[in-house]
Amino acid sequence: MISIRNLTFSRGNRKIFDNISMQIMPHKITAIMGPSGTGKTTLLKLIGGQLKPDSGTILVNDQEIHQLSRRALYELRKKMGMLFQSGALLSDMSVYDNIAFPIREHTKLTKSMIRTVVLMKLNAVGLRGARDLMPSELSGGMARRIAMARALALDPEMILYDEPFTGQDPISLAVLVKLIKTLNQTLHLTSIVVSHDVEETASIADYIYLMSEGKIVGQGSPEELTQSDSEWVQQFMQGQADGPVPFHYPADDFSEELFAL
């Protein structure tokens, strides 16, 4: 369904992705993990056609996303839901209107049908009772669940999650983990989860790509990665402070610097 081939992308002089290739399997949850600043969110923006690569191709549903016309790109995006890290809810609309918004814009459903669809989506994320609240009245976890309901509003074939677990309390975290898994299974979605929360992501992912410094440094099922021989993979999966990714930012010798006059 999504195929990334020889992707290279730079920002200024910094190479974010250096000739990487990935295959996202349909109807599975694929996780893209790595330390902060490795360009995980950038990868989602490339898949969504919001950024253009320097070289390489991204095929979504066998269409090269960066060669599409604006109209064709928008048609493809209707099949693609995205959950932003911040939720990205429209702040001047109620929860109900936020979810109804894409349905009103892209379908000719009657008012009562839109109401039914919105209530179904809200019920799926457990927040039917919060439909009249404004985004400013929601907790972080609730905002993310509402954003998830909005991402599902048009019944997409695939859904992209950008750091869905960041900054969540344990209860919200468990709810989100369960929701991603349940929705994927029930709706036969293709899900891409970008995250650095190892435990939560590994518990639901079918396949994981580990990224660092623009390269894929490990890939496989969660079990395969846990048993990997790679020091880098072990450091990341077990959350060790020091290893191939050093604890200290490159600097001069500490004792020399202390006694230097």
Binding site: Q50, Y74, M82, Q85, L89, L90, H106, R150
Partner: protein, 260 residues
């Protein structure tokens, strides 16, 4: 020395690049006119927040500017025994210059800065990206209605500013300093020309409306999506709009009144 010229060159290139981006942005807005006409509700909502919410600032400012003109006018004109010409002095100053210029400067400070901050915050909180990913063009849905609302509102607000100013001039000149009421109105009616004064003033306000709305929305859309970036963009809106209004005012005045 070479580094100095390099800096100047880089600054020029950046400015040209920004002007290019702003021009493409403007073309995208203009090409969205059909979308806005098909969704009048979007425009009406923005007419309220951009235009109606600026009404009291414009009306009260216009009244006091007119009162000051009335006071100053009477003191200056009385030196020549020409107090009866107060009406024409107040009306011509307001309709030709002060109405469009001060009205547009106030509009840039109130509505322009609010537009930049709103769009910048929508960018910072990924609301614009979110719309893009929902296959909804934010240029059409968010930016274009705000642009046309500003474009429609400012000329009307300028007319209100001038009308309130004329009333202010009457209060100060006639009611307070006892200039003849008949002379105030009849001189104004006899000397203010519809085409040369009122139409030219409205043309200025339409051009200022285009400039302020364009600058405000582009600065918001182009802002660095951080709190400092939005703050800088908001400041740039007020500063650049003010410069643009004053420079264009000179050019338009030269074209309309200066070359006879």
């Amino acid at each position: 020395m070479i580094i100095f010229f390099q800096h100047i060159g880089q600054a020029c290139l950046k400015s040209i690049e920004k002007l290019g981006r702003a021009s493409l942005f403007f073309i995208a807005i203009i090409s969205s006119i059909g979308y806005v006409l098909l969704r009048p509700n979007l425009l009406i909502k923005q007419l309220f927040s951009v235009g109606v919410l600026t009404f009291w600032l414009i009306a009260i400012s216009g009244l006091f500017v007119g009162m000051v003109l009335g006071l100053q006018g009477v003191y200056t004109l009385s030196t020549f025994g020409a107090e009866s010409s107060l009406g024409i002095m107040v009306a011509a100053s307001l309709v030709r210059e002060l109405g469009p210029v001060v009205g547009a400067l106030l509009f840039a400070g109130r509505a322009g800065s609010a537009l930049t901050a709103e769009i910048g915050l929508m960018k910072a909180t990924e609301q614009l990206s979110g719309m893009e990913m929902m296959a909804i063009d934010p240029l059409k849905y968010i930016i274009a209605p705000r642009f046309f609302a500003g474009f429609i509102s400012l000329p009307l607000l300028v007319a209100i500013f001038s009308a309130m100013g004329i009333i202010g001039g009457y209060l100060a000149g006639v009611e307070l300093l006892h200039v003849d009421s008949g002379a105030y109105w009849s001189q104004m009616q006899a000397s203010i020309d519809f085409d040369a004064d009122i139409v030219n003033g409205m043309i200025k306000s339409i051009i200022f409306a285009w400039l302020v709305s364009w600058i405000a929305l582009f600065e918001g859309y182009d802002a660095v999506p951080t709190s400092a970036g939005i703050s800088r963009a908001t400041t740039r809106t007020v500063v650049n709009s003010s410069f643009a209004i004053l420079i264009f005012d000179f050019l338009l005045t030269a074209l309309m009144f200066g070359v006879a």
